[in-house]
């Protein structure tokens, strides 16, 4: 068997092992990789940074634990920045496995900043059918959410006084691990015209640049790199910055695999052509 045949038919377990080793080595060695700030992430940062005292924005936590590695750091950064600006937050979680995960993060960060539920923030929780819920929130928050996640009547919460729908808030930052992003664009921005920014997973990024160019979203935080950029801007490196070395190592391994397999592929093809010419 020629070297290229061996390379082309390598057992997949070797590939898994090399990838695992690359990630573990990155975990053990304290590597810090600098990130360059992109315009689309800076736009989200500026949006939060320019919030005035007491101003309210909506943070939509539309993902579940499967994508929390990429999206949770974004949610934490946005929450921290809003609280540092002394802004207020309306939060919802329209992914069925999201609310408990979101609640843990909200309570932890709110405690850190001494913020109180119902006054500085409200967590509305989950409602099925995201498209319908977004449309209904555009009419009146109280329609889909007459009570918040903790069972408090929304009308009794000071933060909700004077807040009826998207017209009364600064805008929405929706962190989405799936097609809720499309629903926020179609039913949130297109119908009600509220300013919208998205935080999405790395694999979704290519699908949403057209909305950025069309102005339907004013900012975009793509994947763990976007999260790391946001952390860099807020001056609080966290899980996003910590995730970059793993992502870089695994991508580097995949790129090396692609190069190697193509070298072997072309070597084999050229050998076959030569053999064909001899016959």
């Amino acid at each position: 068997m020629m070297w290229y045949d061996r390379m082309l038919s390598v057992d997949r377990r070797w590939i898994y092992l090399i990838l695992a080793v690359a990630v573990i080595v990155t975990l053990v060695l304290p590597v810090r990789i600098p990130v360059s700030i992109s315009g689309e992430v800076r736009a989200v940062y500026d949006f939060v940074d320019q919030m005035r005292d007491g101003e309210i924005m909506h943070l939509a936590i539309e993902y579940d634990p499967s994508t929390m590695a990429e999206l949770h750091p974004m949610a934490e950064s946005v929450m921290r920045k809003v609280f540092e600006q002394n802004g207020r937050l309306i939060m919802s979680s329209l992914s069925q496995f999201g609310p408990a995960m979101a609640d843990e993060m909200i309570q932890r960060i709110a405690r850190e900043y001494g913020k109180r539920s119902g006054i500085d923030y409200v967590f509305l929780g989950y409602k099925p059918y995201p498209a319908i819920t977004i449309l209904a929130m555009g009419t009146d928050y109280r329609v889909p959410f007459p009570i918040d996640y903790y069972g408090a009547d929304v009308d009794t919460l000071p933060i909700m006084s004077g807040i009826r729908n998207f017209d009364d808030i600064r805008g929405v930052v929706a962190l989405c691990g799936g097609n809720a992003a499309d629903m926020w664009i179609t039913y949130g921005n297109a119908k009600y015209g509220m300013p919208l920014a998205l935080g999405i997973t790395g694999v979704m990024a290519a699908d949403y640049y057209q909305y950025l160019q069309a102005g339907q979203i004013f900012g975009l935080i793509p994947g763990i790199k976007g999260a790391a950029e946001l952390e860099e801007l807020t001056g609080r490196p966290g899980e996003g910055a910590r995730g970059i070395p793993y992502q870089t190592a695994s991508h580097a391994v995949i790129l090396v695999f692609i190069v190697l397999t193509n070298i072997a592929f072309f070597a084999k093809r050229s050998a076959e052509r030569r053999a064909g010419a001899l016959h």
């Binding site: 997949r12 994508t67 496995f97 695994s250 695999f257 397999t261």
Partner: protein
């Protein structure tokens, strides 16, 4: 009659919902709210059917495949425990409750692990399938390579050049293709919806 009534219902409800979308009036909002409540009620009514279907297929599988019984049993136990643990609002909003603990220490790690394993499959697939067999496959390969390269720290000018190239790929060819697909899908959706409203497309009722 069995087919005519659903067609009339779909036509009337569909036209009303389309009209209300474009009418910015209080009554339109009230109608929309009530219609949405109907959707949620219908969804809730479908829930017992879903639970029955899950239980039936799991029990059936356990009966037919003795080797799979452990998995079926796990499904049933997990289902029953989570339902009981979440019966009261207090039980799932409290961080120390059984529901929260099951969620945080079972579901979260399980979902995160399953999603992380994708990286291994992607690496294996990249090695086995990403080969420049044709010119088109070569273009796809180079594009993917360039996009992925932006996540690798490169020396200054090289990183800038690569970032500019990535941005161009995302904003010009990628965007053109995505927009063409989206417009096509939207037109297809409108056509399909119109056919349903007019009773031409009836597959949603089952049968042919």
């Amino acid at each position: 009659m069995k087919k005519q009534i659903p067609i009339y219902l779909v036509f009337v409800c569909g036209i009303i919902m389309v009209a209300q979308f474009f009418i910015p009036h209080e009554y339109s909002a009230i109608l929309f709210t009530n219609a949405n409540d109907f959707v949620i009620v219908i969804g809730i009514l479908a829930l017992p059917v879903g639970i029955y279907s899950l239980m039936k297929s799991t029990v059936e599988k356990a009966r037919r495949q003795p080797k799979e019984r452990l998995y079926s049993l796990t499904t049933i136990i997990a289902f029953v425990v989570m339902v009981i643990a979440g019966l009261d609002r207090e039980w799932f909003t409290s961080p120390t409750s059984l529901s929260s603990r099951l969620f945080n220490y079972v579901l979260v790690p399980a979902q995160a692990t399953l999603f992380s394993m994708l990286a291994f499959y992607i690496a294996s697939a990249a090695y086995r399938a990403f080969r420049a067999r044709t010119v088109l496959a070569g273009i796809l390969l180079v594009t993917a390579f360039v996009i992925m390269l932006r996540l690798i720290p490169l020396p200054g000018p090289l990183a800038e050049a690569n970032n500019a190239l990535v941005r161009w790929i995302l904003e010009v060819p990628n965007m053109a293709a995505k927009r063409a697909i989206l417009i096509g899908v939207a037109l297809g959706g409108i056509t399909y919806s119109t056919k349903i409203l007019l009773g031409i497309e009836r597959s949603y009722m089952g049968g042919d």
